[in-house]
């Protein structure tokens, strides 16, 4: 009898090697296909999402339940439209603020006032009940430093970040208040851990000196007020350049993108944090079974020795276009090659 998923994850987080590599299949949309629903119908009831997550885990035998609906939900709480598609995650519509005055007029919405956010909390409660303490339930928050991509549009946000410090500081105050309430509500509803999505913090987007002056301080303040563990994810962005800074926020885990050297990130974390990643979800759409196996084995070889590693994708969300066949091939490879002690020989080409 193996460990429960929760025990497996706890063991790797503590720097021990569990029975096998834990793996988080972060699917948000495949449950809709499983239930025969459109993506919009799927997210219209939290019960659908709970059922979708449970069915996905039963099929792919991974080690978490993922309470994330879609990122645009937070922008919607601030007044943005949500654009629905049949074949991808909902998008935020036009930005809610662009002028200096509009930004200074933003105020944090209340979680209880937004139906979509409340649906997420209901879904987390349902997942928590179903997990019965044996499976980690994951909640998600957008970093206050990254949410403005949707609130203002990326271009306008960079203008504000780089050239309008008063508006930036106001925006961060507003977003921090919202983020803390939203994160703590998810923890109270049943999330065992939060993922703090912060792509703007990545050195792909922001130079380190600017991050240290801005997003780092935002993260440090925000994480200190959240009443549970908070992993940091850069949503495919590079993190090595700011890793030492990010770890000072107290985050216990780092989500790594596929452009990054997984072994280098693992070495740089040096027992200070768990590494989560970094299968390429975009390429995954057309992987053969052999390619899926090779990718899993390569990631495991780089990240798994010594524990503090969770196999997952690079982005924190598997694209809807990834077929079930590939997800099954990845699952089979994890269960076959992820057993500790890890075989050190690299996969054959």
């Amino acid at each position: 009898m193996g460990l429960t998923s929760a025990a497996r994850v706890r063991r790797t987080l503590s720097g021990e090697e569990p029975d096998r590599v834990p793996w988080f299949l972060l699917v948000t949309l495949h449950g809709a296909r499983e239930l025969g629903l459109s993506i919009r119908e799927y997210f219209s009831k939290p019960e659908h999402v709970v059922e979708g997550q449970l069915r996905m885990r039963a099929r792919y035998r991974h080690d978490c339940l993922y309470g994330f609906f879609f990122a645009a939900l937070e922008a919607q709480a601030f007044g943005s439209d949500v654009l629905w598609f049949d074949d991808g995650p909902p998008n935020a519509g036009r930005p809610v603020a662009s002028s200096h005055e509009q930004i200074l007029g933003l105020a944090p919405p209340r979680v209880a006032d937004h139906r979509g956010l409340c649906d997420v909390l209901v879904a987390l409660e349902g997942m928590k009940r179903a997990a019965a303490g044996e499976v980690p339930v994951i909640g998600v928050i957008m970093s206050p430093f990254s949410l403005p991509i949707m609130q203002l549009g990326f271009e306008r946000y960079l203008d504000v970040l780089l050239e309008h410090r008063e508006a930036f500081l106001h925006l961060m105050r507003v977003n921090e208040e919202f983020c803390v309430e939203w994160g703590n509500a998810q923890l109270a509803a049943g999330a065992d851990v939060l993922v703090y999505f912060d792509p703007v913090a990545s050195s792909t987007i922001t130079p380190r000196a600017l991050y240290v002056e801005t997003g780092f301080e935002v993260a440090r303040r925000t994480l200190a007020r959240l009443k549970g563990p908070v992993a940091t994810h850069f949503a495919s962005g590079r993190c090595l350049g700011v890793l030492d800074d990010v770890l000072k926020t107290g985050t216990p885990a780092i989500g790594v993108g596929s452009l990054e050297d997984l072994a280098a990130v693992k070495a740089a974390c040096a027992g200070r944090a768990t590494v989560v990643g970094n299968l390429n979800g975009i390429e995954m759409r057309h992987w053969s079974d052999a390619e899926a196996e090779a990718a899993v084995r390569a990631a495991i070889a780089q990240g798994a020795p010594g524990g503090r590693f969770v196999l997952s994708d690079q982005h924190g969300e598997i694209p809807f276009q990834v077929p079930e066949r590939v997800l099954m091939a990845v699952s089979d490879a994890v269960h076959r090659f992820g057993r500790y002690p890890i075989e050190q020989s690299p996969p054959s080409p």
Binding site: F85, G88, P89, F154, E155, T204, L210, L259, I282
Partner: protein
């Protein structure tokens, strides 16, 4: 001043987002405006793009560097379109995706290199294809952040199948999956905004820079 030293200083001014210093350095290049652009701006932007691909330069610096160059070129060339490269006729768009930073940076890179192009903003497959035809576009640049938006480029390509319009793609999904540009039927892929300038030049001369031609592309 040694041209390579001037370029070095100019690149550093862009990375530091120092408009005044960049303007001062550009003013030291002798000759007509387009020559100054070719001598200083184009190679500097290309190097910034390469630095971003290697993970050494951040997107915020790329964005601001491109914007500064666009402003400098606007000042150099004024509002007159006659001084800019009139060909190829180009437009840029995103498909059903409000993430427009990539499009903005590519626009800045091309305008900052002396080209003209039309910005279609956010459009649908039908609206972008129809407008490209009616405007007599020769090169259509399509930028995508979301995978589903990138995949819709295939439908634009289909709509334009019998038209002499070349489609250049770019954006995160294409960086993470190099087979994607071929999958959507693109004529070329730009790996960064400044590479797009090189791709456009090569397309208009009938050749492509290394790495930009999807394998099995239907032409060239």
């Amino acid at each position: 001043m040694d041209p390579s030293a001037l370029r070095y200083d100019f690149e550093h001014a862009l990375l530091a987002m120092n408009r005044d210093e960049a303007r001062r350095l550009l003013a030291r290049v002798p000759g007509p405006p387009l020559a100054a652009i070719e001598a200083l701006i184009v190679p500097s932007l290309a190097r910034l793009g390469e630095g971003w691909e290697r993970g050494q330069i951040a997107l915020a610096q790329i964005y601001m560097g491109g914007r500064i160059c666009e402003e400098l070129v606007d000042t150099l060339l004024g509002s007159s379109q006659n001084e800019r490269y009139g060909r190829p006729r180009m437009a840029i768009a995103t498909i059903e995706d409000h993430h427009q930073l990539g499009k903005r940076i590519v626009s800045s890179a091309l305008r900052g290199s002396g080209f003209q192009l039309i910005d279609y903003g956010v459009g649908t497959v039908d609206s972008i294809a129809a407008r490209a035809v009616s405007d007599g576009i020769e090169i259509l640049l399509l930028s995508a952040l979301m995978l589903r938006s990138a995949l819709r480029i295939r439908d634009v390509r289909t709509r334009l199948a019998d038209r002499p319009i070349r489609v250049v793609v770019g954006g995160a999904p294409f960086i993470f999956d190099h087979a994607l540009s071929r999958e959507v039927g693109a004529d070329a892929m730009a790996t960064n905004a400044f590479h797009a300038v090189e791709v456009v030049r090569s397309l208009s001369q009938g050749s492509l820079p290394q790495g930009s031609l999807p394998q099995g592309a239907p032409w060239v």
